[in-house]
Amino acid sequence: MMPGPGRSGLILEEPLLWEKGKEGRTAFSMPEQDVPECSGEVDRELLGNGPDFPDLSEMDIVRHYTRLSTWNFGIDTGMYPLGSCTMKYNPKINEKMAATPGIAASHPLLADELSQGALQVMFELQTFLATLTGMDAVSLQPAAGAQGEMAGMLVFASYFRKKGEKRNKILIPDTAHGTNPASAALCGFKPVQVKSGADGILDPKIVAELMDEETVGIMLTNPNTLGLFEESIREITAIVHGKGGLVYGDGANMNAVMGLVDFKRCGIDIMHLNLHKTFSTPHGGGGPGAGPVCVVEELEPFLPVPRIVKGRDSYHLEVDCPDSIGRLHAFFGNFGVLVRAYSYILSMGAENLKKASQLAVLNANYVRESLRDVLHLAYDKPCMHECVFSDKKQQEHKISTLDMAKRLIDHGYHPPTIYFPLVVPGAIMIEPTETENKDDLDQFITVFKDVAREAREDGERLRQSPMHSKVRRLDETLAARSPCLTG
C-alpha cells in the first residue's frame, strides 16, 4: 500500500470534441425568433459559411467536460505544494459572491451613477490593498502579475521621462521570476543580473556596485523566490534611492508577510500583488488572475487610467490624468477576480490574514525541517512561506528532481515547483500554504521520505513514474519539435 493517498481507479476516456457529434444536434437552447428574418438581405460578398464546429447534444457536452475534469487535479483534490504559486484553498463563498446576478451582469461602460456598487468594490479593495502593503495608492487594472510588472516598468519609464532622465538599465536578481526580465525588456529596459549572495539573499555591496545613474533601479522579489526574506532590503533600497533610482517589488510572495511587513517602510516604491495567489482566487488552470499595483504617493499620478475616485457620497471614474501610463485593459481588469479577493479579505479580517501568513511560514518551516535529512537544502536557514531543496543527494543514484516529482503524482500529490529558481540546480520548491493541516503535511512528509528511499533502493520505479495517471510521461520534445497546435 502506498503511503500517499494516490490510487488507481476507474476513469473514462473521451475523444476530441470534433471526433464526436453529428450535424444537426445541438446543446444550445434556441431563443424565440420573435422578429422577422432579414439576415438574408445581407450583401453576399461579406457572408461566410460559419465555423466548422461539431454539433453535439447537451448530454455530449456534459459528459465531455465531466470526463475531462476527472483527468485533472485541483486544490480540492489534494495537496498542491507548488512553490511560488501559493496554491491555497479557494473558498467557495467567493465564487458565489462573484456570481451575484447584479454583479455578474453589470456592463462596464454605463454612467458612474448606474454602477456605484461595482465602483465601491474596487475603491474599497484598493484601500484594503494599500493597508495590507503599507503603500499609498493602488490600481487594480493589471490582469495578472506580469501585467502588474509591466505597469510598474512603464511607471518607471514615465517617471524618468518626466524628470528628463535617460536611464535604460535595470537591476534584476538572478533568482527573479522570468516575468521580471521579460516585463522590463518589454518596456525598453536592459536587465542587469544581480547575483544573490551565498546565503540566498542580496548583498547590498553588489547592488551598490551595479547601481548607477544609467540604471532606473532594481526589481526584486521579497520574500524572494528562494523563500527568504531580503534582510538587507532597507540598505538596498537606500542605495538605489541614493542614485536617484526606484525600487520595484514583486509581491507574488505576499502570503508570507501579511500584517507583518510594511513594504513602504522597506523602501519599495511600486509593487504588484497576485490576487490569484495571496488572496485565494482560484487559478483556473492558467487564469484569470489579477495583479494590482501599489505605489507610494509620488508615483500615484503615473498609475493606469481610469482611476476610481471617491466623492462626498458617490464614486466616479477619472480619466483625465496627464501623467498616467494610460490604459492597460479594455475596461477595469479582471473585475470578477477582484470581487473574489475583496470577498476573501472581508471574510478574513486583519487578524486572520496575519495569522494566515504566520501559519504559511510555520508550515513551510515544518516541511523544511522534516525533509532536510532526505533532501539537500539549497540554503540552510529559516525560510518564509516556501522551502527550496535540490536533487543533489539523489544524483548519485541517477535520480533527478523530475523523477521524484513524477513519482509524487502516483502518491496523489501535485509535485512542487521544479527547476526554479534557476540558481538552484534541480530545485524542488515546496510551498505548502496555510490551508494544509498538520496531518496532511505529515502524510506528505512520509511520502516524500518514501520517495527518497525509493530513489536509493528502486530508482527504476521512479524513472517509470507516473504509473497511476491516465497518461504516462509525455514526450515534450516531440511536441516542441513538430508542433501540432490544432486538430
Partner: protein, 444 residues
C-alpha cells in the same frame, strides 16, 4: 477561522520541530524597521451570511444590472449562457488547478485548451491559436508587437480609428516604451476605415482593423487585405464580437495574417468588463513568434495521445528578457469556457444565433429609422449600429432608463466628430417587446 486548520496544540508541536517557541520567532530575522506597525486597519471579518447580505446591497447599488435591457455593447455583450457551461467549467478540477505544468495530472485542462485553440482557429479562419491573452485590447497590442518582431526593421503601425477606442489606448500603452510610430487611419463616410493615408508611410510593419468595428460596421476585409499586403505590411484583424463570424466571412478567410480580439461573448458574463478572453490566432508560419502559452499534441512513453504546454522557448520562463511576451498567467478558465460555449452552439447553433442577432438589431434599427432616427453609416453592420437624431435624444433615453432600458451610448466622449450620435446594440437576449418599447418611446 474555517480556512485555517491549525489547533493551538498542533502549532506548538510544529514549532518544536524547528526549535521555536512561538510563531513570532519565525519572523525574528525580519529587521525591525521593515515590520508592520500595529495591526492592519481592515473591517472586522464577516460571516458567510453577513457577506452575502453585503453583496446583496452592493448589487442593489448597481442599477444598470437590474435593468430589463442594456442596449449597449461597445466591447461587452449580453448573450445567453447555457446552464451547463459554467456548471461544467466550474468543476473544481478545472477551477482550482494551476497552469498545467505537470501534464500527466492536467490532461483535462490541456485537452480542453487544445480544443479551444482548434475551435478558435476554425472560427477565425486561421491555422493556429494560442491558449489566450488577457483581453481583446492587450491581444491587439501583443499582435502589433508580434508583427513588429516579424517585420524586424519596420517601426510604424497603422491602426484604424474605427477600432474600439480603449483598445487603441491599450496599444499606445504597450508601445509607448518602444521606438514605434502609430498612425491612425481615419473613419470614412461609410463608417469603414479609410486607407488613403497608408500611401505616405515608409516603414509600415502592420495595419490593424476591427471588424465588426466599433460602430458595428463590417469592414471589407478582402479589399483591406489586398491594400495592406500590397503595402508590404502584415494585416492584423481584430474584433470585439466574435458572434459576427457565424454570419460574416472570417478574417482568416479574408486574408488576415494575425487575428485577435475579445471572446467575452462566448460564455462569460459581462461582470463589469472582466474577466473576458483575449483570443489570438495566426498562420502556421508565424507560430514560433506567437506570444503566450500554447498547448500541443504529443504521445506518452506508451505511445498514447496526450497534450502538453509547448513551444516554451518563446516564453519568459525560459527566454526571460528575450521572450515573445511577458505573459504568464493568462485567462485559462475563460478559454475553457469559450470552448465549451462554442461546442454547445455547434456550427449550426452558431449560425442561427448570429442570424438572430442580426435580425434583432435590424428590427430595432429599422424601427428607429422609421420613427425618425438617421443612420450615421449606411454600411452593413452586425449587432451594433450608430444613429443620429434631429432632436436631443437624452430625454427619450432618460424616459427609457426609468423603464429599466438603457438605450445606447452617446459617442461624444470617444469621437468628438460624432457628438450626439448614439451607439446601440441588440443581441438575441433582447425581446421584441423591449425593442418595441424603445421604438415607441422615440415616437412620443
Amino acid at each position: 477561522m474555517r480556512y485555517l486548520p491549525h489547533t493551538d496544540t498542533e502549532i506548538m508541536e510544529m514549532l518544536a520541530v524547528s526549535g521555536h517557541n512561538q510563531v513570532e520567532d519565525l519572523f525574528a530575522h525580519i529587521p525591525e524597521e521593515c515590520r508592520y506597525q500595529g495591526e492592519m486597519e481592515l473591517p472586522e471579518p464577516l460571516s458567510e451570511w453577513a457577506l452575502t447580505d453585503h453583496f446583496q446591497n452592493l448589487a442593489a447599488n448597481i442599477r444598470s444590472s437590474s435593468a430589463k435591457a442594456v442596449l449597449l455593447g461597445a466591447g461587452s455583450y449580453s448573450h445567453h449562457i447555457p446552464a451547463i457551461v459554467p456548471g461544467l467549467i466550474n468543476r473544481s478540477e478545472f477551477l482550482t488547478a494551476y497552469t498545467p505544468y505537470q501534464a500527466e495530472m492536467s490532461q483535462g485542462t490541456l485537452q480542453g485548451i487544445f480544443e479551444y485553440q482548434t475551435l478558435t482557429a476554425r472560427l477565425l479562419g486561421m491555422e493556429v491559436a494560442n491558449a489566450s491573452m488577457y483581453d481583446g485590447a492587450s491581444a491587439l497590442a501583443e499582435a502589433i508587437l508580434m508583427a513588429l518582431r516579424l517585420t524586424r526593421k519596420k517601426h510604424t503601425v497603422a491602426i484604424s480609428a474605427a477600432i474600439h477606442p480603449h483598445y487603441r489606448e491599450v496599444v499606445r500603452t504597450y508601445l509607448q516604451a518602444g521606438p514605434f510610430t502609430i498612425v491612425e487611419l481615419a473613419v470614412g463616410e461609410d463608417g469603414r476605415t479609410d486607407f488613403s493615408a497608408l500611401a505616405n508611410i515608409d516603414d509600415l510593419a502592420a495595419v490593424a482593423l476591427q471588424s465588426p468595428n466599433f460602430f458595428g460596421v463590417i469592414e471589407d476585409l478582402e479589399r483591406a487585405a489586398q491594400t495592406i499586403h500590397s503595402a508590404d505590411a502584415l494585416f492584423i484583424s481584430c474584433f470585439s464580437e466574435p458572434f459576427a463570424y457565424g454570419l460574416f466571412r472570417s478574417p482568416g478567410a479574408s486574408g488576415a495574417d494575425i487575428v485577435c480580439g475579445e471572446g467575452q461573448s462566448f460564455g462569460m458574463s459581462r461582470s463589469f468588463g472582466g474577466p473576458g478572453l483575449g483570443m489570438f490566432a495566426c498562420r502556421t508560419k508565424y507560430q514560433r513568434s506567437l506570444p503566450g502559452r500554447v498547448v500541443g499534441e504529443t504521445v506518452d512513453v506508451e505511445g498514447k495521445r496526450g497534450y502538453v504546454l509547448t513551444l516554451a522557448t518563446r516564453e519568459q520562463h525560459i527566454r526571460r528578457e528575450k521572450a515573445t511576451s511577458n505573459i504568464c498567467s493568462n485567462q485559462g478558465l475563460c478559454a475553457l469556457t469559450a470552448a465549451a460555449y462554442m461546442a454547445s452552439l455547434g456550427g449550426t447553433g452558431m449560425r442561427r444565433i448570429a442570424r438572430l442577432n442580426y435580425d434583432k438589431a435590424a428590427y430595432l434599427r429599422k424601427g428607429l429609422v422609421e420613427a425618425g432616427a438617421k443612420l450615421l453609416f449606411r454600411t452593413p453592420t452586425f449587432n451594433e449600429f450608430v444613429l443620429c437624431f434631429d432632436d436631443d435624444f437624452e430625454p427619450v433615453r432618460n424616459r427609457l432608463l426609468e423603464k429599466g432600458i438603457v438605450a445606447g451610448m452617446e459617442l461624444g466622449n470617444f469621437y468628438k466628430e460624432y457628438k450626439g450620435a448614439y451607439l446601440f446594440c441588440v443581441t438575441e437576449t433582447t425581446s421584441k417587446a423591449v425593442l418595441d418599447t424603445v421604438i415607441k418611446e422615440l415616437r412620443i
